[in-house]
Symmetry: C2
Subunit: 379 residues, 2 copies
């Protein structure tokens, strides 16, 4: 292992020689990584917390996004005095394999110096985790104090605990599931078909010249975004309220196809702003990885086998209004952990904001993570 | 009123002079109608039952669809000896205004003999009902024994009871709501954006030459179709089962973007087969009408006002796994009916099939409708 302190700091990238053998049989070599770190690794390298990001998120957990200029996506969780306390922890978040913010993905250059596009191999959640382990090896981080993530990040958390139990002292899986359901797959398939239906997609070869399939990607984002919010939250936030148009004090039905309702305007904005920061091909690859995810299947059909003999401490958090990965999925994880004899804390938190609650300053979530991490430190 | 028995029978069309003044202010004149009838109108014209169809359905309730050759969409409900008993009732179903199976819609010819396309006026559920009343006037049907429908059909049922209480002796609203929620609007907006993102849409002017926006319409259908099924039903029917490809006995992950999962294959089929029988512009107009629907809003903000002093008997049916128009929406209707002093039966039926349960031979539904209709006949 190489240990080079210059590797720690903001906005780091590194290319490792690999090889990284993927579940589908392909081999990546070399492998590009982009990651962000917050706080300092202590002398015995025991305070590292790996943050795993969700489908459309990235490594900019607590620092400004270079494309949008917006603050990091988890500033409520990560920072000085926050549950992941940068005065005490060394936090690292790695752009997942297949993504588009610096780690190897379809937009990366293949051996012929042209972008992979759809020549990039189909990856799995386990491949993402293996890649992360490769980077941690390079950084000289053998053991993680904790691995934490929500949504697809939570899938990586479970996979980390299953693949590298000796490297994970504690694992915090939030708003997630141990497998993708038929309904989860269905929504992703709609998004993929929307992208592929866009003539600008051109079989994925849109990097060199031509416009990217922004319209298809925006539709995919809009469909997905509905699943991130609860019916209750949508009603509370938007209801049937009309959008005031220029020159109007209050909104009125246009008897046309403008965005009359505030929810329409909001969704259109979500779609349009997403395409400025995300690559359509990455959306295809990462949704595919999530759809393929079934941790029980990887362990002879029994989820408890994934955690057999584990010494990792687990914390599982769900939200009562999350219908994408509902509490029933969290309970499936908790049952398997109990069956495997693991130490596990489970809490269902109340929030009107659906799946997105994990990204918000949701009451109880930060206190739960804070308490769980401190208990592991004997505090 | 004109009464011409030759108007009754299968596959009828008629053009009425109008004018039909629409909620948006536009006037349609003349107005095309296409409708199907089943059974015979009795001497005192007291046995007519109006069946209102859903968004993508049509007048072919119990007869083969002329484009697909498939049997009618409600053969479990309508036929000899069925709850809507063609030996005893005269059933009529009219293709809704805005649709594409013969009634006036965006594909119809405007005054300049060219298709309206997006020049067709935006319509409401109330406009659909006013148009239906115009056709019933023409047919000499003053009073309906019952008006019945599921989903958007149920919205028309409620609107009929509100607009023409003296013409509706009983009303059966199934799997429906008195208004479209933010989530309902959101899913429709995704579908509309998918259609409009298809370059073949060309602002709606695709009738004369060029391909219609089939890819966009297919994506819209796929997204909507997920909302018609329950998570439980999808898991039961498809789960994570893989699709066997040609030459395979069982399915395997392709590590590609083929339809690996059965749910993907099913959804793609739903999308592809839909575009052969439905017009994309009609999809825009009818979803818009549904989004605009808020029966309380039409009556001073109080739903009970819509039914004030009504003598109509009501039957409201919901399904426990329907998350598109959940039982809570049915209860809102029932509460308003009770507040208005109406006679109302309400039942929540159990089905794993979500919203689509109303189209299936769902236990309890047929018995409920049968009993309700017979009670009205003093049987």
């Amino acid at each position: 292992m190489v240990y080079d302190t210059s590797l720690f700091g903001a906005a780091r990238t590194v290319t490792l020689p690999g090889p990284l053998t993927l579940d589908g049989g392909a081999v990546l070599a070399p492998v590009d990584f982009a990651y962000e770190t917050y706080g300092a690794l202590n002398a015995d390298r025991s305070n590292a917390i790996l943050i795993c990001h969700a489908l459309t998120m990235d490594q900019y957990v607590a620092s400004a996004h270079p494309l949008t200029g917006k603050p990091g996506w988890w500033t409520a969780m990560v920072g000085p005095g926050k549950p992941i306390d940068t005065d005490r922890h060394f936090a690292i978040c790695i752009n997942v394999l297949g993504s588009c913010m610096g780690s190897a993905g379809p937009a990366s250059s293949a051996d012929d110096s042209k972008p992979y596009a759809m020549r990039f191999p189909v990856i799995t959640i386990r491949d993402m985790v293996r890649a992360q382990a490769m980077l941690l090896d390079h950084l000289g981080i053998d053991t993680l104090q904790s691995v934490i993530g929500g949504s697809m990040g939570g899938m990586q958390v479970l996979e980390w605990a299953a693949c590298y139990p000796e490297r994970v002292r504690s694992a915090i899986a939030i708003a997630t599931a141990a497998k993708h359901s038929a309904q989860n797959i269905a929504f992703h398939e709609v998004g993929r078909q929307a992208i592929m239906a866009d003539p600008n997609w051109r079989g994925g070869d849109y990097y060199a010249d031509g416009e990217p399939p922004t319209k298809g990607l925006a539709v995919a984002r809009m469909a997905a975004h509905i699943t991130y919010l609860s019916e209750e939250g949508l009603t509370e936030k938007f209801g049937r309220r009309l959008q005031a148009k220029p020159g109007q004090e209050t909104g009125a039905k246009s008897f046309g196809f403008d965005a009359d309702f505030q929810i329409e305007s909001y969704l259109r904005h979500q779609g349009i702003s997403f395409v400025d920061r995300f690559d359509a091909n990455s959306y295809l690859y990462i949704t595919r990885a999530m759809d393929y995810f079934d941790l029980a299947e990887e362990h002879g059909g029994l989820l408890a086998n994934a955690f057999k003999g584990t010494k990792t401490r687990f914390c599982v958090i769900s939200f009562d209004s999350d219908w994408l990965y509902p509490t029933s999925e969290a309970k499936t994880i908790v049952r398997a952990l109990n069956a495997s004899g693991a130490e596990v804390s489970f809490v269902e938190l109340s929030s009107p904001f659906g799946h997105d609650a994990f990204l918000l300053d949701t009451p109880g979530m930060n206190a739960t993570v804070d308490g769980f991490l401190k208990a592991g430190e004997g505090k």
